[in-house]
């Protein structure tokens, strides 16, 4: 059976396949090409992160409260047993002993007291030394390490001396243990000098732009708004005619630094179709200004900016 193949049909199919195939490739490739914008990314090393967080960690460690609690617990238990008379004597001694010599006189009576808590505290302390024993066991590997770090011992000693003056001795020790990789990185990275000084605000650049709810940059507008609101509460104009929006009164207000008026408000200008109504608006505004003082909320450090406050009173929203 012979099949007649139309050459034009074949050519048409081939052409369509070619066009469709080209379209799939080109369209799909374009679809995958997403217009990505380069985003500034700062790589923060663990060391930088540790420095950023260092303030908080050290702050918490500085509080030696747990030691006080341990000492306070045993005392109330033994005192509550019943040496009330002895406590009274202690109170007498406490009231008198301003200088240290007085405790020397009372140790005779106090001696029986401290031994008891010590006797009871000893069993509690006994397990602790047991816990310390494993610490002693730990000393062995350290001793072994010390042998390896004989060369490194001299540098920690001067550090301990410097720290002894300031008192934070412990921080240098962990540095010694994690010191090797960090120091290697510092030695290899010549840019470390600049990168190490980045602070949290510099690393998080968006934070420096401020929040939408932030008001730190609006200090001047803040006192203006507060002053406007304070005066507005006392402003009681009575005119609400059709032409109310044409009435205005410009008034300058001399202020003292304590928020009171330095002198009577000054009517600079009044505007409106009726002179009597405009004058009444100005007088109403003056009454409001005087009646609402003292404006004690005004920021004294910005006094120069509100030493003379120019205001305009209008009626455009009266109807």
């Amino acid at each position: 059976m012979k099949v007649n193949v139309d050459k034009t049909l074949v050519a048409s199919i081939a052409l369509h396949v070619l066009v469709l195939g080209w379209g799939l490739v080109t369209f799909s490739s374009k679809a995958y090409v997403a217009p990505e914008e380069s985003l500034p990314v700062d790589i923060i090393s663990t060391d930088q992160l540790a420095k950023m967080m260092a303030g908080q960690k050290t702050g918490e460690k500085d509080k030696p409260k747990p030691k006080v609690e341990k000492i306070a617990e045993p005392k109330p238990e033994e005192d509550a047993v019943g040496k009330v008379t002895e406590k009274k004597e202690l109170i007498k001694t406490n009231s008198q002993p301003e200088p240290p010599p007085k405790p020397v006189e009372k140790p005779v009576e106090k001696k029986p007291e401290p031994p008891k808590p010590v006797a009871e505290a000893k069993p509690k302390e006994e397990p602790k030394p047991q816990e310390k024993k494993p610490d002693a066991a730990k000393e062995d590997p350290i001793a072994e390490l010390q042998k390896k770090l004989d060369t490194k011992k001299p540098p920690p000693k001067p550090v301990e001396q410097k720290v002894a003056a300031v008192q934070p001795q412990q921080p240098p020790k962990p540095k010694e243990r994690s010191f090797d990789p960090a120091q290697i990185q510092r030695d290899l990275d010549k840019r470390a000098a600049t990168r190490h000084e980045l602070t949290g605000s510099a690393l998080n650049a968006s934070a420096a732009l401020g929040l939408a709810t932030g008001t730190a940059a609006n200090n001047v507008a803040t006192w203006r708004g507060a002053f406007q609101g304070a005066v507005k509460r006392c402003f009681t104009p009575t005119y609400n005619g059709q032409d109310a929006d044409q009435y205005e009164a410009d008034i300058d207000i001399p202020m003292k630094i304590d928020g009171s008026l330095a002198s009577e408000p000054i009517v600079v200008a009044v505007r409106g179709p009726s002179r009597s109504i405009a004058q009444a608006v100005a007088e109403s505004a003056k009454r409001a200004i005087v009646q609402c003082q003292v404006y004690s909320f005004m920021p004294k450090q910005q006094y120069e900016s509100w030493k003379l406050i120019p205001m305009t009173f209008g009626l455009k929203d009266m109807l």
Binding site: Q228, G272, S276, R287, M311
Partner: protein
């Protein structure tokens, strides 16, 4: 109305321009535009009696002033029980701190003294409590029976000094007093002070009266009365009690109103099924036709300058408000309801200030009282209800009075409302009352 913008610079201002002003130029002005007003707290002390017999009149004057200012809605008189200081001499400055303590912004003191000739001497002082300055101080002499009017005049002085606008307390209202059962209601022409005192009846009630209107000098009233034949427009002289028919037209005449100069009366004249506007010169008695349409044109009202008139007409199929020149000509419709295309407008009246036209609007099953600008913009409904009708402006254009009929077996009563829609109050009348018309300020028309 011509309005002149002006700017005043005080002496201190000039000083500021020379020196201190430069300091203020460094920063923009802080602007305050309150959205609503609060009434001014004011302390009104009892007027001191010049003699023991003057105590009652002194207290009466104080009470009238307090009532006037309180009803205006612009003042909040402070209860005298809260007063710390007792005024014993109005010629000595009060201790302002005592009045600041009770939050008073203004203080009124006064004295009523009977003179040797029998007249009454009234003195008052208005103090600015905040600045400690006297804002106003006047004295008046009058017959003892006019002590209420003195109280109204003092009220106007206080109102004007504090708000900058003319007052409206020394004025009267003419209205239709209604009495008797609903099916046999007796309607008399009556007149009273704006606060409801001193009611006088001008007609006996034998004939029905409607639409009374004051003349500009408040000495005459024009109104429509149903007599033996067709209803006619009458002119009534308050002092003499005499009345006369305005014109001698074959048909019914109604809805009269004086021109601002008082020399003409504009009214409607019925001709068949239509009515047109006519104006009659009271001196020459000549009449002029202003409209000639196959429609009902009525309720004309002049603008304050007398150049234009507004009126209602159903020439468009429904009663609407039109404005045209006082001499006639092309009329322009100004009432277009945005929310109710079937609403109709009637009883337009032009404000004495010229800034608004008040009207009655019927639509949605309710009658409303509202105002709009003379060009039709800024329409504002002030009150709505079963039946509100017939607005009339106070002399200063700040307050509207109208009548309200609740329906049923009751009758209408008079109400007032601020043009902003606030402070709606019932006006005291001895009985039912309708169709009020406010007079001009009496003290300003005394010389006319």
């Amino acid at each position: 109305m011509n309005r002149r913008r002006f700017m005043t610079l005080t002496g201190s201002t000039l000083a500021m321009l020379g020196g201190g002003q430069t300091f203020a130029q460094g920063q923009p002005r802080i602007r305050i535009d309150p959205t609503e007003f609060q009434p001014i707290p004011i302390a009104i002390t009892n007027f001191l009696p010049g003699s023991p017999s003057d105590g009652d009149v002194g207290n009466g004057v104080t009470q009238v002033i307090t009532n006037n200012l309180k009803r205006s809605g612009l003042f909040a008189p402070i209860d005298q029980a809260a007063f710390i200081e007792r005024i014993n001499n109005i010629d000595v400055a009060p201790q302002f701190q005592n009045w600041k303590t009770i939050n008073a912004q203004a203080l009124v003191t006064g004295r009523m003294t009977r003179q040797p000739d029998g007249r009454l001497k009234a003195e008052f002082r208005l103090w600015d409590v905040v600045s400690g300055q006297q804002l106003a101080g006047q004295q008046y002499f009058t017959s003892p029976e006019y002590w209420r009017r003195i109280a109204h005049i003092i009220s106007d002085q206080i109102y004007e000094r504090m708000t900058g606008e003319k007052g409206y307390f020394d004025s009267r209202v003419v209205f239709v007093d209604e009495s008797g059962p609903k099916e046999r209601r007796v309607k008399r022409l009556a007149m009273m002070d704006q606060d409801g005192a001193n009611v006088r009846y001008l007609t006996r009630g034998s004939d029905l009266v409607l639409t009374p209107r004051f003349s500009p000098n408040s000495q005459e009233i024009t109104y429509m009365e149903f007599g033996q034949g067709d209803p006619k427009v009458y002119l009534f002289n308050i002092e003499t009690g005499q009345r006369e028919i305005v014109g001698n037209f074959p048909g019914m005449t109604f809805a009269p109103r004086f021109s601002p100069d008082g020399q003409r009366v504009i009214m409607s004249l019925q001709q068949g099924g239509n009515s047109n506007l006519f104006v009659m010169d009271l001196r020459s008695r000549s009449t002029t036709r202003l409209t000639d349409t196959p429609a009902i044109d009525t309720s004309p009202s002049y603008s304050p300058d007398g150049a234009r008139i507004c009126f209602e007409s159903d020439r468009g199929g429904r009663s609407q408000i039109y404005v045209m020149a006082a001499g006639g000509g092309q009329a322009q419709r100004i009432s277009f309801s945005k929310d109710d295309t079937n609403a109709s407008y009637s009883t337009p009246v032009w404000s004495p200030k010229g800034d608004y036209i008040a009207f009655t609007r019927q639509g949605g099953g309710q009658f409303s009282i509202g105002v709009m600008k003379p060009d039709g913009s800024g329409e504002r409904l002030l009150t709505s209800g079963f039946h509100n009708e017939g607005p009339t402006f106070s002399p200063n254009g700040r307050v509207l009075m109208f009548f309200r009929d609740p329906g049923g077996n009751g009758g209408p009563s008079l109400y007032s409302v601020d043009i902003s829609g606030r402070n709606e109050l019932k006006v005291p009348t001895p009985g039912f009352a309708s169709d009020p018309a406010w007079s001009p300020l009496l003290s300003s028309t005394a010389g006319q």
